[in-house]
């Protein structure tokens, strides 16, 4: 069975790229435009992994990560966040919220696939 990944980003272009890249690499992609939508999709569909932006309206990435980690079903599911911040503080906060790792924007498509494979196997 294909592994299912939730891609959360308020930028449609990034979502599109993540989707094209990861579906090309053999994953199923579910999309969401903000943290709240991401959370409701995660509740509705079992996911193998979450890739989320941090800076988003309605519910930001940190909020999403915290909420997901509160759900028993998502306690061990890898969560990657996208970040452009070279600011270590943001990374620290996201890690503290329970993220597994990060992808630094801008990234190449093969980098994205490599990181997802690294974390998801």
């Amino acid at each position: 069975m294909k592994k299912r990944i939730l891609a959360v980003d308020d930028s449609a272009s990034i979502r599109q790229m993540v989707k094209l890249t990861l579906s090309g690499a053999g994953y199923d992609i579910v999309e969401a435009g903000d943290g709240a939508e991401g959370l409701s999709k995660a509740r509705a569909t079992p996911l193998d992994m979450v890739v989320t932006d941090l800076n988003m309206p309605v519910m930001n990435g940190l909020g999403l990560i915290r909420e997901l980690r509160k759900l028993p079903a998502y306690r061990g599911v890898p969560i990657l966040f996208l970040t452009t911040e070279s600011d270590a503080e943001m990374k620290r906060q996201a890690k503290a919220a329970g993220a597994t790792g990060w992808i630094t924007k801008p990234f190449q498509q093969d980098q994205l696939v490599a990181i997802v494979r690294k974390v998801l196997g």
Binding site: E37, P57, V58, G76, V77, P78
Partner: protein
């Protein structure tokens, strides 16, 4: 289909973000302390930068980075968003647009000037963007193959945050042959074991050509919280290497066993482990179920399983289920709506098809009318109803709220106010009024002209306003509302109003009116729409060149609308545009003149009256009709169109109006209402003013559509000539 190419998606997204940024900045100018606005602006910049860099728009990304940095400081409360900062940010936004649309034409000096201003405003911080972390300094030189000993222990909660230790070991093995030894000395007795925690330590010997950084890279996500010791070691002897290999096999088995043991322990434990313990790769829907939930103690408290079950079983809430709090609700246009993007040309195509359907349907209607087949008549009526509904739905799809257009003018007003040193407030009313998208697009330029005129000629400067006893801030009001099958859009200012005397003097000078003639205000104000008419003594950068108002009128008439002016000296002017809702299909009145059939837009028709023979004879040469006491000039279309057939005994007069003026059109027969699908005339016929287009009738013949604005004007002119002569 919406574009699937991420780069195209980015371009579209960037346009929207820039527009949103502009709105937000303008809102921020009014409420500089609004944290949510600051966040919205920052997010827009952040996304433009991030996505821009992603899709190769490096110049945009680099430029936006500085603006983003500035807004980060604003966000952190270190910099106050002053009017000056917002003005620079708006300029920066324009520069970003240029960089996105046409990077080649971007003027670097402009960009640097903007960044210079920005840096000055926020202090030195922006000049030193945070740099990337320095590359690792202690890397051993890359001299072919090396042996490493790697000893590590993962953070205890690594697995509950999604790290799978087995995958890390796999990752290490991709660097070269490795022997892995799991050290189980840290695993506690069964009764105190927490299946969600990681207790193992590993000792790995790795042979690789990769540098130390590649090994560290494996642990990238956990390296800050783990124990990790990476040390180069001397090459083991061949014998040892062989033994190592064996050992590697053994330890791998050991590791697997250790993993198994832990898994078994988990199952045997007092509580069943959730997917946390089983590892992400096995986290399927069944294991994720609430029955297995609830590992005790560490980590966040586990929610009530029943609650989880309910939420999991509940249908997914619709997107946007969480309403944005507070003022965000008002700015709903910034939220991604539950909509589908469709290229505009596809809508045009759809409208065209519906038009063809309406034409085919009217043919069917004619055939059915001539037939006695009741079943056919019934199905024809159904098709007529459905095609009308389809037409309305399709037109509805093309409708956009005019607020989108009004929103664009906020920036214009902002810039005009700054350039003129005037204080201006823009008030918009009826932003939700919907209009056909083509009409909205074509309204942009005329409205810009009118707003510029209002600011340049209408509104006084603060000193002038103070002298006139008015509030210092002038007001420009844009409003829109539906009236019948059309929309009224007005641009009003509370400035000095039109200068009657000056317009009159200028009109007489240029021979538009005879000196001393009696002229109503409405007529007098119409002259400002004459080509080349200007009373401005000096030409400013914005208006006064005498081009503009006639262009505005032509543009509005091109949309089958008309323009009215009202003005009160000292109190301001109001220009009203009356526009049809759509350009594609109109309700028309079909009339016959001689053998030809013509369509009069129904929205312009006021009434139809009969012109009896004697009245006709009496009015010969005068061509005025008495409509309840008003003299209305009329035009004999038979004469205008050189109809060759004998006139009908009872001629009909269709009274049409454009603005406040009326004129009667004498026709042979009023056939009835007609769904008119408008086809434009060819370029060859562009200069035929009295027809605005053509349509195809049910029997396949062509009917011309009368241009009422021109006919009314023509009729009034003829009427005035006759009046003057009598």
């Amino acid at each position: 289909m919406p574009p699937t190419d991420p780069e195209q998606v980015f371009l579209q997204e960037a346009q929207e973000l820039l527009e949103q940024l502009e709105h937000t900045l303008l809102d921020l100018e009014r409420g500089p302390g609004d944290g949510e606005l600051i966040d919205t602006a920052f997010r827009a910049l952040h996304t433009i930068k991030g996505s821009g860099a992603m899709f190769g728009f490096d110049a945009v990304a680099a430029f936006t980075h500085h603006v983003e940095t500035a807004f980060d400081l604003v966000r952190k409360g270190q910099v106050v968003p002053t009017g000056e900062l917002i003005a620079v940010a708006l300029a920066a936004k324009d520069q970003m647009r240029v960089l996105i649309d046409d990077p080649a034409s971007a003027n670097q000096t402009v960009g640097e000037a903007i960044l210079g201003d920005l840096a000055r405003l926020i202090g030195a911080a922006a000049r030193h963007p945070p740099g990337e972390a320095a590359p690792n300094a202690g890397d051993p030189p890359e001299t072919g193959e090396a042996h490493w000993r790697i000893r590590f222990r993962l953070p205890a909660d690594a697995m509950s945050t999604g790290t799978n230790p087995l995958l890390l070991l796999d990752d290490l093995r991709t660097l070269g042959p490795a022997s892995v030894n799991a050290l189980t000395d840290g695993v506690p007795p069964l009764e105190v074991i927490d299946p969600a925690l990681s207790y193992l330590r590993w000792d790995v010997t790795l042979r690789t050509t990769q540098p130390r950084s590649a090994i560290e890279q494996v642990f990238l996500f956990v390296i800050d919280d783990m124990e990790l010791d990476i040390a180069p070691i001397a090459a083991p002897s061949p014998g040892l290497a062989a033994a190592g290999l064996t050992q590697a096999g053994l330890t791998q088995a050991g590791l697997t066993q250790a993993g198994l043991t832990q898994a078994r322990l988990t199952q045997a434990g007092p509580t069943q482990a959730g997917p946390t313990q089983a590892g992400p790769t096995q986290a399927g829907p069944t294991q994720a179920g609430p029955t297995q939930a609830g590992p005790p103690t560490p980590g966040p408290p586990a929610p009530d399983p029943a609650v989880t079950a309910t939420t999991a079983a509940a249908p997914p809430p619709p997107p946007q289920a969480v309403p944005p709090p507070g003022r965000a609700a008002e700015r709903h246009e910034f939220q991604a709506a539950d909509t589908i993007r469709v290229p505009a040309e596809r809508l045009d195509e759809l409208m065209d098809r519906v038009g063809q359907l309406v034409i085919a349907q009217s043919r069917l209607k004619e055939i059915a009318a001539a037939s006695n087949d009741a079943a056919m008549k019934s199905v024809t009526e159904d098709i007529e109803r459905l095609s009308l509904e389809l037409r309305d739905t399709t037109m509805g799809v093309r409708m956009l709220p005019i607020g989108q257009l009004f929103g664009r003018f906020r920036r214009l007003i902002h810039d005009l106010a700054r350039d003129h040193g005037k204080h201006i407030e823009l008030v918009t009313v009826g932003e939700e009024t919907e209009l056909d998208k083509t009409v909205i697009e074509r309204l942009n330029d005329p409205l810009i002209h009118l707003i510029r005129n209002a600011v340049d000629h209408g509104l006084e400067d603060p000193a002038g306003r103070a002298a006139a006893g008015k509030p210092l801030t002038g007001r420009v009001t844009l409003s829109a509302r539906h009236v019948g099958s059309g929309v009224l859009i007005s641009i009003a200012d509370d400035g000095r109003g039109l200068d009657r005397a000056r317009i009159r003097a200028r009109a007489e000078e240029t021979g538009l009116f005879a000196p001393g003639a009696r002229i109503s205000d409405s007529e007098l104000f119409q002259v400002i729409f004459q080509p080349g008419f200007s009373t401005a003594r000096e030409v400013t950068s914005l208006s006064g060149r005498g081009v503009g108002m006639d262009v505005v009128r032509r543009a509005i008439e091109g949309l089958r609308g008309n323009v009215d002016i009202a003005s009160t000296a000292g109190a301001g002017s109001e220009i009203t545009l009356r526009l049809p809702l759509t350009l594609a299909i109109i309700d028309g009145l079909l009339v016959r003149v001689g053998r030809g059939r013509y369509v009069i837009p129904l929205s312009a028709v006021e009434e139809c009256v009969e012109l009896s023979m004697e009245e006709d004879a009496r009015s010969r040469g005068r061509n005025f009709l008495n409509i309840r006491g008003d003299l209305v000039p009329f035009l004999r279309l038979r004469e205008m169109f050189n109809a060759a057939t004998p006139a009908d005994r009872y001629q009909k007069v269709v009274i049409v109006s454009a603005g406040e003026l009326r004129v009667g059109l004498v026709v042979d027969q009023v056939i009835g209402d007609h769904q008119t699908v408008i086809k434009s005339l060819s370029k060859l016929h562009e200069d035929v003013e009295i027809f605005s287009g053509a349509t195809i009738l049910g029997d396949g013949t062509v009917a011309l559509i009368l241009d009422i604005a021109h006919l009314v004007e023509y009729g009034q002119r003829t009427g005035e000539r006759l009046l003057a002569a009598s």
